[in-house]
Symmetry: C2
Subunit: 347 residues, 2 copies
DNA sequence: ATGAAAGCGCTAACAC
DNA sequence: GTGTTAGCGCTTTCAT
């Protein structure tokens, strides 16, 4: 069954399509009786104008940016959305969000469907696809649809990137607990297919190797990115019958750290007295927790703003986009969740 | 400067627009030399096809739903998004999200811009506009674009609604702390322009009045919907020099409850020993907090699913939408953040 | 292998 | 007041 069009309505109402268009757009100069007849036809047929044919094809139309995030639950992305939305709005753009929920197929799908709806540009936090199927991104390049990335990708993609120095910041975070005197330090690593997770783990390793210290494999737990992941990993790591427990744990992100702190509490361990915890991202909540979280502050909002700005810049310039790779500063914020280990205090 | 079109490219490449269309769509039967020439022109001019003209106007195209939330930071909405996305995907739909961030103008704007992009239907968590300017919603009705609401509106809008019984659930939550023996109970109310906030406050009042008890005005604090709001309100409520402090606090939502718990901790008060705290929503994090939160469980994911299902149903039926008003069950989950008051224990 | 021309659903002159 | 018609940017037969 074909969609009802303006001519169907016109026919039913016994008028021309121009007249229908008139009442659709509230134009003056349509007799009241005619208007009523047309409106009746519209209602009866459930007619719905195709906006693409109305505006898009005629006038320029308003412009919109698409932001594709990895997890809709992560406040990290919420701040990025806010920033992007601000910058976009100031320039007359709108921002729509889609979430890939860590699924490459969903990411691909999201890009395709949004591109099909003529969004003007993309801000994408891409998944690190194993098979390196970046076809959807290449498709954008090929169609001259600009995009900026929020996380690195292995393929030497020649694109604009807005991120922080994850290796350096994770290294700094790890150094912090080492400097406090901790010996047994664990890292709750992020999702498997994530450049950020890899970079942060690399930063942790670097802190250790710089000091000629060893990071045992069992001290690296691949947890994930959510509160649940942190909770489960924490429950496991500090499970009954475990020995050589870590006295400090650095986490992939704040959500994982929050889950970990829950697990520690439920295991009867205290933060930071028994275990020091370090997060990453500095989500808003971090400072307001019962034990304010020591974490790496990431300028999420600024990242969102900058990404949108760079994108719009590309949109408005005729030149082929030059691939800027911006690394905004990120550094540790020490709060109450880290302290010297017991042994260091008593010994 | 007008946008580059397919004929510009054709002209520059010295071919017809049909040929350009051919290389654009990777059609076979184009001489390699021609293809190269066309591609060169495309690249040189940064040509970008208007997708609306390509698909939309020709084929049916893929369908998408828009979900408009009030605050992108609230995990409450994240779960709704997940649910809607699931249900939509199962039926071949996509879901895009926009956030009004508690701003009526942004909400209006979001609806307009999305409608202009031909989204097929809306799931909207509307703001309770003071001036009752629901024009953007009426515009949808007028254009036969179906939508379902996630929060009530004052105007007797004849639309589908998916929500829970907020009054009843808030009443139940309040009864819980009353039954535990608390006398001085405060409520951190939600944002001003919110039906949910009003309904929940009403539920609190009802619990009191049913028992012929009084809820003093100073025990109702208009906080907001975020962690920061809860923190600030908590810091204030339990500030130095305050007397007659509440021994239990019910909150507009879990985020506020989390902020409150942070404030209590920073004021040296313990949960639930000194103060019982009740949240609302049961966001995922609630169960994993150091002190697991007693809260009203709201079936967010199911709400998202249902909203999407009802919407798609309307989309696929020719009949005018019947306005269903579904109230999914919500009830209290008692965890560790509530306990009898000290006085009740000792007295 | 390439081009001319008819349409996709709608708006906007311009006639009548 | 209302209808005719020429586009909007593109795809798609159908010729050539």
């Amino acid at each position: 069954m074909k969609r009802t069009t303006i001519s169907d309505v016109a026919e039913r109402a016994g008028v021309s399509i121009a007249t229908v268009s008139g009442v659709l757009n509230g134009k003056t100069g349509v007799r009241e009786s005619t208007r009523a007849r047309v409106q009746a036809a519209i209602d009866a047929m459930g007619y719905r104008p195709v906006e693409a044919a109305r505006r898009r094809l005629q006038r320029p139309g308003e412009r919109t940016l698409a932001l594709i995030v990895k997890e809709i639950h992560n406040p990290y992305f919420a701040d990025i959305v806010i920033g992007a939305q601000e910058a976009a709005r100031e320039r007359g753009f709108h921002v729509v969000v889609m979430s890939s929920e860590q699924d490459v197929d969903l990411e691909r799908d999201a890009v395709r469907s949004l591109a099909a709806r003529d969004v003007d540009g993309f801000i994408i936090n891409p998944l690190l696809d194993d098979g390196a199927d970046l076809s959807h991104l290449f498709a954008l390049t090929h169609r001259n649809v600009p995009f900026v990335l929020l996380e690195g990708l292995r393929g030497i993609l020649q694109t604009t990137l807005v991120d922080v120095d994850n290796v350096g910041a994770a290294r700094e975070a790890t150094r912090h607990v080492i400097d406090l005197g901790h010996e047994r330090i664990a890292h709750l690593a992020g999702p498997e297919y994530s450049m950020h997770a890899a970079e942060r783990l690399e930063g942790v390793r670097r802190a250790f190797s710089e000091l000629r210290r060893d990071l045992p494999d069992r001290m690296v737990v691949h947890a994930g990115a959510s509160v649940e992941d942190g909770y489960r990993a924490g429950l496991d790591l500090f499970g009954p019958g475990r020995s050589g427990l870590p006295t400090a744990v650095t986490c992939y992100n704040d959500l994982v750290a929050i889950g970990l702190m829950g697990a520690l509490s439920h295991r009867g361990l205290r933060v930071p007295e028994d275990v020091s915890v370090v997060g990453y991202d500095d989500i808003r909540m971090a400072a307001y927790l019962p034990v304010p979280l020591t974490t790496v502050h990431v300028p999420k909002r600024d990242m969102g703003r900058l990404a949108a700005e760079l994108l719009i810049e590309q949109l408005d310039s005729a030149h082929p986009p030059r691939a800027e790779r911006v690394r905004l500063p990120a550094s540790l914020v020490v709060r109450a969740s880290t302290a010297p280990p017991r042994a260091a205090l008593t010994g």
